[in-house]
Each structure stands twice: as C-alpha cells, then as structure tokens.
Symmetry: C2
Subunit: 343 residues, 2 copies
C-alpha cells in the first residue's frame, strides 16, 4: 500500500482533542502508511502528543486553526463564519489535494454545508447524504442513508440516495444487484409519507436499481435488503434508537462484574460473556462509527459527536478504506451510467 | 372487581380469528370478570371455539359482521365503505355502551378515522394519538406517543400529545410532575424539524408541563424522561426499530437449542437463558403489545397487526386496565384544567 494522508478536524465532537488526538495516535500506530494532519488549536493538541513515540510523530503534523464551529451553531450561520475554523481548513486540505479525505466529529449541518461548498457535489446529485454500512443479524451488511444530513427529504432526493446507496453496495461491498428498499411505516403501497410513495413509483421502474419495496423499522437488522433509504431525520432517529438498544444490551451483559462470587461462578460469568460478545459484538456501535458523506467530489467522514477514542479511530480507518476504494470516482462513474439510462 | 365487557374486532390483524379467538379465550380464562363480544364472520370464529370450556364460552358472544377492512386499504376509503365491518361494529358497541372498550389489530388509519368519527375526540384535542407505555432499562416506564396515528404532525398536535402523555403518566402511572421530552436529532435548540422547534417554544412555558427538552433516539430506553413526544411516522419507525433489535437479541439468546450437547451443557444453557431472560424479558415487545388511542371519548386499543396469541391477549388486558383506570374521563378532566391554565 502507498502512503495516504488524511486531514482530521481535531477540534470537532463533544470531547475535541481529548478524543481525536489519542485516536489519531492509535490509528497511526496500526497503519504504517498513514499520515495525519491534525487541524486545530496547537495549544490544545500538542500537550496530548507529549508521550507519543517519535516514529509515530514523524507521520503527524499539526495544522493551526484559529476557531472551532460550535456543535450547537446554526449550520447556515456557521458556514458564513467558518473562515479559519478547524473543520473548514480540514476540508480545504482535501480540496487542495494535500489530504485524500477529511474526518470530523463536528456539527453535522455545518460539515454538510461546508463540504458541499468546498468540495462540490457530483453531477446529478443535489444534496450529499450521510451513509453508514450497518452490520446485520446474519453477519452481512446493509448500506443505510441518509442518516442526518438532510431533514425533510423530497422524493427526488430519496431517489438520488437510492442510486448512491446501490452504487456503494455494488462497487464497495461487491453485492451483485443490491436489493434497495425504502424505510416506511408499513409494507402496503398506501402507507407513509407522500415523498416516500412518489419515490417508490420512480424506483419501481428505474433502470439498474433492484427495488424491493418498503421495509419497516423492525427489519433494520434482519438483512432483508442491502440498501435502506430514508430521510435524514428518520434515519438519524432510527440509527440512534438501534444504537441505544444495542448499547443497553451490551451494558447489561457486562454488568454485575463487581459482585463477590466463587471462582467457578466468576469463570462461568466470563465464559458466558465471551460467548455472547462473540455473537453480538459485531453490532456494537463503536465498531462501525463513521458515516460517509456520499455524493461529493471528495471523501468526508462524519464521526458520531459522542465518539470515544476507539470509535473515532474506526472513523479514521473508514476514511482510509473509502479513499483506497476510490469511492467518489466509482460513484461518479456509475451515477453517470445510471442517470443516462434513466433519462 | 365488577363485570367488564370489551368488544374485540376478531377479523383484524395479519392472522385474524386464528390469533384473536385463542387470545380472547386465554384472556377470559385468566380474568373471571371479563366478558367479550367477538365481532366478525361467525363461519371463521365458531370453529375455533369448539374445544373451549363451557364456563368460558358463557362469557363470550359472537357478534356477526359482514365485512373486514383490509389492512392495506386507504384509510379514507375504508372509512367510507366501513358499514357492516367488524372494526366499525366493535366501535359502535362502545358508542352504544354495550362494551366499555374496543380492541383491534386492524388497519391503523381506518381505526383512527372510524374511532374519531364514532367516539368523537375530547374537547381541546384535534387528533387522537397512539400511545404506548414502554419499559425502560431501569425497570421504570416511559409513555411514548404518537406511534403512527398521525403522519406529519404540526407543532399544535405535538403540544396536545405532550399534554395527553403527561396526564397519562401522572394519572395512570402515578408519576408526579412527569418529565416531558420531544424526540429530536440533537439536544441543541437549533436542531430538527420546524414543527418540533415551535412545539418546544410553547412547551417551555406551558403551565402544568414539566418540559425537559429534546431527547435523541438512543435515550428511548434510558429512562431520562417519563413522556416522549413525536410525530406518528417517527414514533412508528422508532418503536419498530427498537422492537426489531430487542427481538433479535432475544432470538439470538434462544438459538442453538437444537444442538446435540452433553446434559451439563444443556442444563447450563437453560440456566444462562433463564438468567438473561429475567434481565431482558421485560423488554420483550410481546409483553407490552397494545397502543391506546388517546384523546377520544372512549377507550380503543390498537394491537400490533402481526401480534401473536400471547401479544393479543396482552392488548385485551391493556383495554381492561384502561377501562378500570377510567382513562378518557381522567384525561378529559385534566385536559380541561391544563387548557384553561394555558389560555
């Protein structure tokens, strides 16, 4: 593998450099061809590098940024006042070709707006979408989008999400003729929002799209489709609900550690926990943190704002994989073919 | 306890009488003061009663209905053509005072429309809402609404849902000053849909409402609020997502039963399963099936369309509890007080 440089918005997220810097060091330690540009306030970043190995520090550079976009800032206003912010500088490094991708745990709306303004959307895409690859029950994978970049998507946007998701599943996950479904509140054609019904009408006959109908929330993890399409508000609430329930189960499995028990009960407890973790562990949200902003002429990974070090390191890895998989180029090429056929 | 009569739409749901009739017999067997009116096609119902105990049959009557509202029918059309249908007759039995409540697993939109037309909404309520009491992580309870009766709710509707939910939590669950939250995609004030932000502005200063802010999907089961308010589309997808994940965990816990194993491994497996079920069982969706249509001058319980016998029996029990708790009267009285104060 060849050398690969990523730009990290070190100030974004609920914990800022406290999480992003150790995660960056962790990612560098496990990927010898990785180079990272940490964008942010050097006063906050450099103290956290003090104990790092010099071989690792040789592949890291701090890029100073004057300001941070607050996580509760209004996106439009944040974009207007973004000059000099860590998020904007990280995106500009991608635009200028100094970095192959950008990773941020910052304000989603601002990231979406800035990425669109700086990197520009692909031809045929009005609004980029946040996409994640979720693990399902049968150890397969489902592409889900939009996860929060667009609130109140119309049918045209849902159709574009479907095309991008299908391309992603086919090109990156190597799923032939991926099954595309729309998330709805029933499987009958009359159910749900007007925007969803209108998108279904188009997708039914869209060339190159294997549309399989509506899917309900309870089928999110059952592997009944390869691409699940929804509006960003719905997708965000759904994903977080799923994560909340999974975390609750995992935490309940882990609990009662502190109890005083006989040696055999402790051993048994650990054995049970190991077995269950092996069965459920792939669903742990920390293992698949990082949503990809699809539909741009560049790679942008949005990490969960509340990501911990492990989860943010996974987001960095996702960026690496997306770059190595040449995601934007492949999507652009396939979009062109699909859009020509559907004209 | 005194005698209590409920009307059951025996034809509704994915399985019709195959589920509703055995569930009705089960409910009658466990509640000696319960009387049920099974509304539907006698040709489908009576064969399923053949083996029932005569003492139980004495508390059951079949009320003939000519037609069934299809689960995929368009609500408006279904309501127009509803004369003689099992769902409508069941609701009319409540209106006429022959039954204290109605239980149906049929078409949600049609049930909503017919219930509103026949039983009428309470004063101050524009649109009734589907409410469920969900168990949470700490073995407490959260009132969640709307779960699918209203798609695309505006701020005024969200405010009414909040008032009804708070009254429900206070009067029926006996929670003093219940914490009311709006489901959103972030905790910051600028996040989400316009309807949600407008509702938040009003709820902040609404008398008698202990509004605590926005909550995200991952907090659905964490017990951070007592009443969670959302639009019906969002609520439906969220609830089903949660149920899907919980069911998946429970099914994974149950699996590997058929394996050939030594006696001690089987014993151990059963022991582990029992312990985990004791910890997770209260989250099993079958145990809390049945959403209450709040805001009407009568009690209507909507069962999940895919409910099995056990789950439909729980919905019948919910109806019994709602009637004994005098839900509509209590909500009407409290609504009057809250609405007067906020005028």
């Amino acid at each position: 593998m060849t050398r690969l440089t990523l730009a990290i918005d070190a100030m974004g997220g609920d914990f800022g450099p406290c999480v992003t810097v150790p995660a960056a060091l962790q990612a560098l330690a496990s990927h010898s061809q990785l180079y990272l540009l940490l964008v942010g306030n050097p006063d906050n970043i450099t103290p956290l590098l003090a104990k790092a190995d010099s071989a690792i520090l040789a592949r890291l550079r701090v890029i100073p940024a004057e300001s941070v976009i607050a996580s509760d800032a209004k996106p439009a206003q944040a974009v207007r006042q973004s000059r000099g912010s860590s998020m904007r500088i990280a995106l500009e490094l991608v635009k200028e070709g100094q970095a192959a991708a950008c990773v941020s745990a910052g304000n989603t709306g601002a990231l979406m707006g800035l990425a669109k303004m700086i990197l520009k959307p692909l031809e045929g895409i009005d609004r980029p979408a946040l996409m994640s690859v979720l693990p399902h029950q049968h150890h397969g994978k489902t592409v889900v989008l939009d996860l929060g970049a667009n609130v109140g998507s119309d049918s045209e946007m849902l159709i574009q999400f479907a095309v991008m998701g299908a391309v992603m599943a086919e090109e990156v996950l190597a799923i032939a003729q991926p099954r595309v479904a729309l998330l709805n509140i029933g499987q009958e054609e009359t159910k749900g929002l007007e925007s969803i019904r209108a998108a279904a009408e188009v997708l039914k006959t869209a060339p190159g799209i294997n549309y399989v109908g509506y899917l309900e929330g309870n089928d999110l993890l059952t592997g009944k489709c390869d691409v699940l399409v929804c509006d960003g508000f719905i997708g965000n609430v759904t994903l977080k609900t799923m994560e909340g329930v999974v975390r609750m189960f995992l935490s309940l499995l882990k609990s009662r550690e502190g109890e005083k028990r006989a040696w055999w009960a402790k051993w048994l407890g650990r054995w049970i926990k190991r077995r269950l973790m092996a069965r459920f562990g792939h669903l742990n949200p920390d293992r698949y943190n990082g949503a990809c902003l699809l539909g741009l002429r560049g790679t942008v990974i949005k990490s969960h704002g509340a990501a911990n070090q492990q989860a943010f390191a996974v987001a960095i890895e996702q960026a690496e994989q997306a770059v190595r998989g040449q995601l934007p180029d492949r999507i652009a090429a396939r979009l062109k073919a699909v859009l020509v056929r559907s004209d």
